[in-house]
Symmetry: C2
């Protein structure tokens, strides 16, 4: 996991380089994205910030995520049901393990993916540019809690 402060500074730096203004709302959103604890959702970021910024608009959260995404500094984990999650700490494609009970998202360590990508490129004659790998299951915590 990359250092949170380093990521935060890096994203802010990139915004400055590209001539974007640094607003308090923008900084607060980037701080959360840089940490990306548990891979936050738009709603989650909004909820975290509305105490400190009572006038914070959902549109501002959407806009800033889009901006940081455009700069390649956040990974969007889009789900078909609209429950999108974000990772500004590791903004490059990597596998995820997702608990279908508590919605926790964990990053596993997988070495064989690069080799797999090569096999797929060779077999299908595609030029592979990106990938998305999700495993869905039930985490240890939820297993311990039982069915209910």
């Amino acid at each position: 996991m990359a250092d949170h402060n380093e990521r935060f500074e890096g994203i802010v730096q990139k915004l400055k380089e590209n001539g974007y203004k640094i607003t308090p709302q923008r900084l607060a959103i980037i701080r959360i994205l840089a940490k990306s604890e548990g891979h936050p959702s738009v709603e989650g970021i909004y909820e975290q910030l509305k105490d400190a910024f009572p006038t914070m608009s959902l549109a501002t959260v959407y806009r800033n995520i889009l901006l940081v995404k455009t700069l390649g500094e956040v990974l969007e984990l889009g789900f078909p049901d609209g429950s999108n999650r974000y990772d500004g700490n590791k903004p490059y494609p990597h596998p995820h393990v997702i608990c279908i009970r508590c919605k926790k998202i964990v990053d596993p360590h997988l070495e064989s993916l690069d080799q797999m990508k090569k096999e797929v490129a060779s077999e299908t004659r595609f030029k592979i540019l990106n990938h998305r790998l999700d495993f869905f299951g039930i985490c240890g915590d939820c297993m311990a809690k039982g069915v209910e």
Copy 2:
């Protein structure tokens, strides 16, 4: 790739067993899902059928896909932009290779995925129930056509 007719008959059989009525619209939709050539979209199925069924409603396509999905006879490939695609020919999770230009979807042959699933389960202590693996890139046809 499973035989199209076999899949078609299998799905129809399952519907009958569960007491669902067999309508012409339903049969036509299932025929397309059983083949799943290129992994059709809702809109694509609707377009294919509206000549033969001028009164066909989009709602009917959605409803029947949902029904077949409930019976576990079609795999839904949901994408965050809403461009969902369906595979009733191989209704179980399997990797896909997706061309970002022409939207073609191809099934690669990958042996190492089962092993990978075991590694992930062991490392994260999740009980893995499902997965989703997509590779995105540019297919041979689109590469040949150049950039434009």
